[in-house]
Symmetry: C2
Subunit: 347 residues, 2 copies
């Protein structure tokens, strides 16, 4: 049972319903640029902030007050589900994990017992919802199966993604099995968040830009769909698929099964809207625009708002995570400009 929200613009827009102003949240809003986060991070490890319920709640809710965003997103990391699959993950600060032998996958991975292994995740969501007091929705998230697979195969971030590409192009059947396994675990992980009360979920397919359109269709999109299909019982649930770097294959992305598509900043919002006149879209301001002048920022925000239109469902966001060198005041100004300009457009 999800709690109703005083400000439910984000949920309404994600369902294609009318709203008084375009809702906005910012990828990476809970880390990086906020003083409360930075001060907590001086005293606690990243993993502590993500896994200890009171700390997670504090970090997750801070931007709602500090930036006036229309949604909170759970402070977490896409690699955290891997630990219960018996893959140790460390952050130094980039993720480091034991690189997995492709021929051992997916057999070598443990299937977690969601209720027991991820009870801490349930606690994090509950603590966060308590602290939010129904002001705005809480978005849950997970890494998409393809992206999780790249981390398992590379042992962390990678420039060339040699092992992923080698497996995908030499043993496509086993690779698809690995993705199916990860999809089921991801559905369980999101299931914990949903049972605890998150109002929407996003799949981050952060490395989708590695894939040709044909391989996106062959591997990443069916795996994402397998996740969303297992959540589909909840008919009103906003489900968001975000595949940065795959904008040239946007036309294929409804095959992810998501009800909302997230766009990176290299797609023109007006082009996406022309392709999907009725589909709710999320995005896609260039994060670099927050490093420039206020005039430039307002102009770029207006391009995104006008491209999306006010009628078909638009959740404003950046087209990628907020850059670490962004000033908090600029992020707040961005939120205010989205609200003000989108109200003007409706008037």
């Amino acid at each position: 049972v999800t709690v109703a929200c005083a400000n439910d613009r984000m949920l309404r827009a994600a369902r294609g319903e009318r709203v008084d102003a375009t809702p906005v949240w910012i990828m990476r809003q809970a880390g990086r640029v906020l003083p409360g986060y930075r001060s907590l991070r001086d005293r606690h490890s990243f993993l502590d902030l993500a896994r200890r319920a009171e700390l997670c709640a504090e970090v997750t809710v801070e931007p709602v007050d500090a930036l006036d965003v229309d949604a909170a997103i759970l402070f977490s990391d896409i690699l955290l589900p891997l630990e219960a699959m018996d893959v140790a993950v460390d952050f130094r600060p980039g993720p480091v994990l034991e690189r997995q032998d492709p021929s051992s996958l997916p057999e070598r991975l443990r299937a977690p017992d969601a209720a027991r292994d991820w009870s801490w995740l349930d606690a994090c969501v509950h603590a966060t919802l308590d602290r939010l007091e129904g002001r705005v929705p809480l978005i849950g998230f997970a890494g998409a199966p393809f992206t999780l697979a790249t981390y398992l195969l590379e042992g962390g971030s990678s420039k060339e993604h040699e092992h992923t590409r080698r497996m995908m192009h030499s043993d496509p059947d086993r690779f698809a099995e690995l993705l199916a396994f990860l999809a089921d675990r991801t559905a369980d992980w999101l299931g914990v968040q949903l049972s605890a009360g998150v109002h929407a979920v996003q799949l981050f397919d952060s490395w989708a830009g590695l894939l040709s359109p044909a391989d996106l269709e062959r591997f990443a999109l069916p795996a994402a769909r397998r996740v969303f299909d297992r959540l589909a019982a909840r008919a009103e649930l906003p489900t968001i698929y975000f595949a940065p770097g795959a904008g040239a294959a946007l036309a294929s992305q409804p095959a992810s099964g998501a009800r909302v598509l997230g766009l990176d900043w290299r797609v023109r919002m007006a082009d996406a809207r022309a392709l999907f006149p009725a589909m709710p879209l999320q995005g896609n301001l260039d994060p670099g625009a927050l490093l420039g002048s206020e005039t430039q920022l307002a102009a770029r925000i207006r391009e995104v708002l006008e491209g999306a239109g006010a009628e078909s469902g638009h959740v404003f966001n950046l087209g990628h995570g907020i850059l670490p060198m962004t000033r908090m005041e600029t992020a707040r100004r961005c939120v205010r400009l989205v609200h003000d300009l989108s109200r003007e457009m409706r008037a």
Copy 2:
């Protein structure tokens, strides 16, 4: 005066003329995977190979024999023109240069005297053409102005490109001046190569994927056009623009003024052909396909060939530089498959 080539498929296809088989060359074909290159590289610095005429010729021509490609591309680096602008460049092995203060640009940069400062480049092209003996065309190249600007502003490669984004979004007029300055220098640089006899030229806009479509149109494409316009006297010259990461803005790219568009592997070739029924296209096999099985490789090559069609000009290439871990035998097999399959398609 350019020398005629015994195998001129690449030039004919780049002009949209009929050919017996689809021509193919491979980005980074002259480095990385060839034994002759590796052995020379053990004894000489990267800069020596690029600037000493006999070495440059040897490295440039090796893939014509070793891989049977239909074109050679001058062994060089997009940052080499910067030295004569009074910006020292080092390779360790990634490029390192003195980061430039945006407020000093472009005034702080020297305008090279092409004939004097780049006589070594003229010598490299001449030595290479001598060694090629008219077997295949020689492609010259340069970095596109936007990409050169990012290196000047960041002092090397960068993850966030903070300084570029900051300048572009806070002082767009000065940024455009910088690009115009670099475009004129780039035209001079390519002018040296053309006078010495290269048969085609490619602009690499390697960091174009940083840009929103609006900023691609505002900055990168007009700067590329300024380069090509200064070369336009040569009506039959194949000019190629390659902007990896900007595939979602492909429809805008003819504004670069190029006669051929290069595609990265995240664009579906058939989509590009539908957008540009009559424009010669170059690309765009996923470089990862060269790490997989021969069956997969042949299937992926066929997708690209069929997507491009045989009638409208297609120069086969990878959608990015060949991966360093690729086996030379696979690169050679790829070239043979392109020739064989494209001949079959025409039969």
